[in-house]
């Protein structure tokens, strides 16, 4: 028997003409797939990946771009327009996308292959593993909709992509925070010989880290602000949330440091150990990913192996569930990764 956990929304009221509904309307009705993550007053930059790749291609003739019918939704269309003869539309066929990218890498090219994170992580896993990672080929796999960045439900929410790729030898995993970082990640992963999985924020991407004088270095974690009470260790979009949380908690006289860890694998163990060894700080790992197998467990394992025990260790992460469909701000609140939810969580832990 098929059982649904979902029922008719309460705010609709009773079914039929007599239903009046409730005054409490849902605050958001859109779950648009490509909704921007940017807040209303946040600075943004359009298509940082597509623009950075186009620029890179000017000086790296071996760079080519491939996609599986998702150029527009991974910002690769910008590259396709700038370098039409170096763009390969592989159609809606992710296994082929990855295999063909591997073959082109064998012939000396540097393919940037784009799709959604769910399709790379789930559908094309065997192909990434055997055709690319096992041969350590120079393919960059760049995937939109990482973690919970769409309201479409589990078919599009790659909540476990990092867990999946962490288990794959040879592959480097990068989870950039904002447009400023994405622009720097592109040339950096091109300079690295070997396969890379990059989580992509696309469209009008928030611009945050430029204010912190930040520069991306592959494999390096960096302190964005110091703090004596709590150390948030975060990657991807959760770093911008961590910075906002730090500001919010400073009003409560809680001093929060933020360590940004954009390279999930290989992990910058030295920096993480150095910062977590400092006495008197709670460590909170924040990630846009299921609590299973992501940055949090990577850091936890490192600390246990190294005999480093912060005052407390907590995780802000998505639950080990198939998540709801809906509007992103609602879902980020519901699953604890909005700034407010994270701030509340940390207050509760102190």
């Amino acid at each position: 028997m098929r059982r649904s956990k979902y029922t008719r929304p309460a705010w609709l009221g009773e079914q039929g003409e007599g239903g009046q509904g409730t005054a409490d309307k849902p605050r958001l009705t859109t779950s648009a797939m490509i909704a921007s993550l940017a807040g209303a007053d946040q600075r943004t930059k359009p298509a940082p990946f597509g623009n950075a790749l186009s620029a890179l291609a000017e000086t790296r003739p071996e760079v080519i771009g491939l996609t599986a019918d998702l150029a527009k939704y991974t910002d690769l269309h910008v590259f396709a327009k700038a370098h039409p003869d170096r763009f390969y539309q592989m159609g809606m066929a992710e296994q082929l996308l990855i295999s063909a990218a591997a073959g082109m890498a064998r012939e000396g090219f540097m393919p940037f292959a784009t799709t959604y994170a769910v399709f790379a992580a789930r559908r094309a896993y065997d192909f990434i593993c055997m055709a690319i990672a096992e041969e350590n080929l120079n393919v960059k796999i760049v995937c939109a909709l990482p973690g919970l960045t769409t309201g479409y439900g589990p078919s599009h929410q790659a909540t476990e992509d990092i867990a999946i790729f962490r288990g794959m030898p040879n592959i480097t995993i990068v989870d950039p925070c904002d447009a400023h970082e994405i622009e720097q990640v592109v040339p950096a992963i091109a300079a690295h010989q070997g396969p890379v999985y990059m989580r992509l924020l696309r469209g009008n991407v928030p611009l945050v880290l430029d204010e912190y004088g930040y520069t991306f270095e592959l494999g390096k974690a960096k302190m964005l602000r110091d703090g004596n009470d709590v150390l948030i260790i975060s990657s991807g979009l959760m770093t911008m949330r961590a910075l906002e949380t730090a500001k919010a908690l400073s009003d409560d006289n809680v001093d929060v440091g933020v360590l940004h860890v954009p390279t999930i694998k290989p992990l910058d163990e030295a920096t993480i150990l150095k910062e977590t060894s400092r006495t008197g700080r709670m460590a909170v790992v924040a990630e846009n990913h299921t609590i299973v197998g992501g940055l949090g467990e990577a850091v936890a394992g490192l600390l246990m192996r190294s005999g480093v025990f912060p005052t407390a260790f907590r995780q802000v992460a998505l639950p080990d569930e198939f998540l709801d469909a809906g509007a992103l701000p609602t879902l980020h609140d519901r699953y604890g990764i909005s700034t407010k939810a994270m701030t509340d969580s940390i207050k509760g832990w102190l």
Binding site: S99, G103, M104, R106, E107, F127, E135
Partner: protein, 291 residues
């Protein structure tokens, strides 16, 4: 490469001409394979014996390569999608002078360059890591696109199998190869009608195979894969065709061809052969050659 492929303008760099006939080459490939099989006492011997003629024609008639330089840029690429056929390809690579013959004693053993399932990192002349079936043809699409970008005249040969056709990725690649008009791709399907769980035609019937590839936009030929003259003609036609299409040579082969008592075994996907039977197999192979 433009739509005109053919051999015109291709730099000839075949191995030194020899007096050995293609039949001799096929015989040697079978012999190398049997000797490797004996090292393990078991293995994919029947496939190797079955595909030996195809490999002989590929390596000693059709393909350009330099035995002393397996990574020579202008070589034709041979992609073994069916990794478990490695024993057959090793035999061909030994015969081609790319792998020293004495290494066959190490087949499937610790620290060997000749593992049971073919992997690119292990073996000179092994272009890809096969074994997870359904990978080769997609990789071939990438190789072909890359070669075209480089305006190379090299061909990409990709050997896959009837059972492997059950993998959807094969059809993603077949579709794509036609879309990109990959006239530098020569697919070879070994139709031996035997897969792990039984006859391929029963596990998931794959016919009408020629019509299926025709409908996907391929230049299609189907030949007796144990008839060397027919194979030569088919490979020549595949290389010389001016049609802007990928080519497929569907090869019907006989499992364990050349060793009658192994041919007769009903389930011969993975053969176990008793120690005393290896000598008998070699003798029967020799007898068949002189017959």
């Amino acid at each position: 490469m433009t739509t005109s492929t053919g051999d015109a303008g291709r730099q000839a760099s075949k191995p030194p001409m020899s007096n050995l006939s293609l039949a001799d080459r096929a015989y040697h490939i079978r012999r190398h394979a049997l000797r490797m099989g004996e090292v393990q006492g078991q293995g994919y011997i029947a496939q190797a014996l079955g595909i030996a003629d195809v490999l002989a024609v590929s390596y000693f008639h059709a393909m350009n390569y330099r035995p002393e330089d397996p990574e020579w840029e202008e070589r034709d690429r041979f992609l073994l999608s069916i990794g478990h056929y490695a024993i057959a390809l090793y035999a061909a690579l030994i015969e081609a002078g790319i792998i020293p013959e004495d290494e066959l004693k190490s087949y499937g053993s610790d620290d060997s360059r000749l593992p049971m399932s073919g992997m690119a990192a292990y073996t000179p002349g092994m272009e890809i890591t096969g074994g997870s079936l359904g990978h080769g043809l997609g990789l071939a699409v990438g190789f072909c696109l890359g070669l075209k970008r480089k305006q190379s005249n090299s061909f990409v040969y990709c050997l896959f199998s009837d059972g492997e056709l059950g993998e959807g990725s094969v059809w993603e690649a077949a579709w794509s190869a036609s879309h990109w008009k990959l006239d530098n791709l020569i697919g070879i399907i070994d139709v031996n009608n035997q897969q792990a769980d039984g006859p391929a035609s029963e596990v998931t019937g794959f016919e009408p195979l020629a019509a299926r590839f025709e409908s996907f936009g391929w230049h299609v030929q189907r030949v007796d894969g144990n008839d060397i003259d027919a194979l030569v003609e088919a490979f020549d036609a595949a290389r010389n065709s001016t049609e802007p299409k990928p080519r497929i040579v569907i090869c019907d082969t006989k499992m364990a061809k050349g060793v009658p008592f192994l041919e007769e075994r009903e389930r011969n996907h993975f053969l176990r052969v008793e120690p005393h039977e290896w000598q008998k197999a070699l003798e029967l192979l020799d007898a068949g050659r002189t017959a």
